[in-house]
């Protein structure tokens, strides 16, 4: 069984702060990590391999330094690592990203493809399902439990707003995972040794035989027009006086709104 895990190296957004004067992100000193949801995807792949055999291949698209994310995944226990890196990939939106990943994954003879439900920097949750469409295979989003894996099929629990669905799918399949699925393991000593030695396969746009019209900025239907901080509310009322007077005003206001 070939299990492919798609990961992304992201800035740790819980560490990102905003400069209040310029309304810009302060990115200095923000560490790069494997997208936390992808950690659960790697763990899921390792658990499936332990039960059903096969190998786990991690793949990412990114700048050269994304290699360190792949090595971290190998340290957890992944067998092989593939890095899609090329200046031509820069500026990709989700459409171009999923097309590029698809061009690589279609050559890997994957039975199961696992992604985190979304990346914490973009939060779009689109690359997984878009890739499944390009691969012409079924997908299941928001998987919270893997009930059973067999030769030709899989049974999963899919998290919904009102509970969960138990979904069966034929293989090959792509699914995206939520945090509830598992607890990602720490790298073992053996894994750390393997991570040092593993040869990372690097593939460019030419290697992928990717259509130049469908990758990078040119292949991206969406564009970022601008980035900004949220606007201030228009109906703001400034409370005046001592603390007690301010609270009095507030409580009276609540009363006039029939909340008290």
């Amino acid at each position: 069984m070939n299990i492919v895990v798609c990961i992304k190296q992201v800035p740790d957004t819980s560490e990102v702060r905003i400069n209040p004067e310029t309304n810009t992100l302060i990115r200095e000193g923000v560490p790069s990590i494997i997208n936390p949801y992808d950690m659960h995807a790697i763990e899921a792949a390792l658990q499936i391999r332990e039960k059903a055999g096969g190998k786990v291949i991690v793949i990412t698209m990114g700048p050269p330094q994304a290699e360190s994310a792949l090595r971290d995944a190998v340290a957890m226990g992944a067998d092989e690592a593939v890095l899609l890196t090329d200046k031509a990939f820069a500026g990709s939106d989700t459409w171009a990203t999923s097309y590029t990943l698809f061009k690589a994954v279609e050559k890997l003879d994957a039975h199961i493809i696992i992604c985190g439900k979304q990346a914490i920097d973009g939060d779009t949750a689109q690359v997984g399902p878009e890739m499944a469409e390009f691969l012409n295979i079924p997908h299941v989003s928001y998987v919270r439990r893997i009930e059973d894996v067999s030769e030709g099929s899989i049974r999963l629990q899919r998290l919904m707003d009102d509970g969960y669905d138990i979904v069966e799918s034929s293989l090959p399949v792509l699914f995206t995972v939520v945090r509830e699925l598992n607890e990602p393991r720490l790298p073992s000593l053996k894994g750390k040794m393997a991570a040092k030695k593993v040869e990372i396969r690097k593939l460019s746009a030419v290697d992928l035989e990717a259509d130049a019209e469908k990758i990078g900025l040119k292949g991206s239907p969406t564009q970022v027009l601008k980035i900004f901080a949220p606007e201030a509310r228009k109906d703001r009322k400034i409370l005046e006086g001592s603390m007690e007077e301010q609270i009095d005003t507030l409580v009276h206001e609540l009363r006039s709104l029939k909340c008290v």
Binding site: Y99, D123, V140, S141, R155, Y164, P230, L239
Partner: protein, 374 residues
């Protein structure tokens, strides 16, 4: 920086954030020949009309569908176009109801393949309909369903999709949809465009848009769609209801009292609980407070928690990171209590009090109870 000049390294991912944030406006984008995104499908003017996917779950239309109809009506009017709803696996009566909520037309498919939720038939049918009728804008709720199958449709149609929008406006000059969404883990907002491809697709967060007008007498067309040739390689074998009571209470609450990292201590939620009780409200929390383990995740409001829209939202010791604001800023009235006068929460607050939660909240409780006693 090299010799006093900024240099783009291999770290640059062409996110273009630098263009809009440069204080001097000196960073410019110079596209080389052939670099322009020019992946147009058909001439843009051949696409017209606004479509709304009316999601169903548990045998009824989800409330986000009515919110989308409200937003869709406004966009359609601005474009002098029709508003259509897509309803899969429902009855004529439900379609009629969507018309009363301002749809001009409903594409209805009653096939039993839509009885449970599977991505492939949803994506395949919507893709076919879009190819045939060429709408300009297509919207769905940013729910587990909309966020799961809309990407498949966008991939098929070679068009852009913007997730989790909190605001949608039309640029009058170009007809482009200005799609605003949180970015960088909800640290800041971004406006996204899809200038060269149609339709422009977006998912919209529930409880952000307001419902439109309900008109008992409104009439429209119901167009029945055949599900011929649709298939699904996934199968739902069971559906288990499991909704936490807090989650329901939060989303339906008129008053929410929320606490954040500024409480400094899990005991803070005890005092906030008393305020919530005095006001007949429900307890919420910021991600920071949940991450600290002070209160369960089911109380979390924000991008990775619940989106709420109460009449009154009282934020105590919450600094107001964008990821929290996007989950509560459409509340009617926001009251912010925070020690730091520069906390961003004050920019979205209707009323702000700068001070210590532990001093202010007990005083509020006392005064509210006094007032009730009168």
């Amino acid at each position: 920086m090299k010799e006093g000049k900024a240099v783009i390294t291999e770290y640059c991912q062409l996110c273009r954030a630098c263009l809009s944030v440069c204080p001097e406006g000196v960073i410019k984008e110079v596209l080389e020949e052939g670099q322009q995104p020019a992946a147009q499908n058909l001439p843009l003017h051949e696409y017209t009309g606004v479509w709304v996917f009316a999601e169903r779950r548990g045998g009824k239309v989800a409330s986000v569908a009515y919110e989308l109809l409200g937003a869709g009506r406004r966009l359609a009017d601005e474009r002098n176009a029709q508003l259509s709803a897509l309803l899969f696996g429902a009855s004529d009566a439900e379609a009629q109801e969507l018309i009363r909520w301002e749809a001009d037309r409903v594409y209805l498919c009653t096939d039993p393949i839509f009885e449970s939720y599977n991505d492939e038939p949803h994506a395949d049918l919507l893709g076919l309909l879009i190819k045939e009728h060429r709408p300009e804008i297509v919207l769905a709720g940013a729910t587990p369903i909309g966020r799961s199958f809309f990407p498949r449709v966008a991939a098929k149609l070679r068009t852009g999709l913007t997730a989790d929008c909190t605001s949608l406006e039309i640029d009058r000059d170009t007809g482009n949809l200005l799609q605003v969404r949180p970015a960088f883990g909800g640290n800041i907002m971004a406006t996204i465009l899809c200038p060269y491809n149609r339709p422009q697709m977006a998912t919209v967060r529930p409880r952000v848009m307001k419902r439109g007008r309900y008109d008992q007498n409104k009439t429209g067309d119901i167009i029945h769609i055949d599900a011929e040739g649709l298939f699904s390689r996934t199968k739902v074998v069971d559906t288990v209801k499991e909704v936490s009571e807090t989650a329901v209470n939060l989303q339906e609450a008129d008053i929410i009292v929320s606490g954040g990292r500024g409480l400094g201590d899990p005991k803070g939620f005890k005092i906030l609980g008393e305020l919530a009780e005095a006001l007949g409200g429900t307890l919420g929390a910021s991600r920071a407070a949940v991450d600290e383990g002070w209160i369960p995740y089911s109380h979390q409001v924000g991008q990775t928690g619940k989106t709420v829209c109460p009449k009154i939202y009282i934020a105590c010791g919450i600094s107001g990171a964008v990821q929290h604001l996007v989950g509560m800023q459409s509340s009617d009235i926001i009251i912010a209590i925070n020690k730091n006068p520069d906390a961003p929460i004050f920019t979205v607050a209707t009323y702000g009090i700068v001070g210590d939660v532990y001093e202010i909240v007990p005083m509020m409780i006392r005064k509210i109870n006094e007032m009730k006693g009168r």
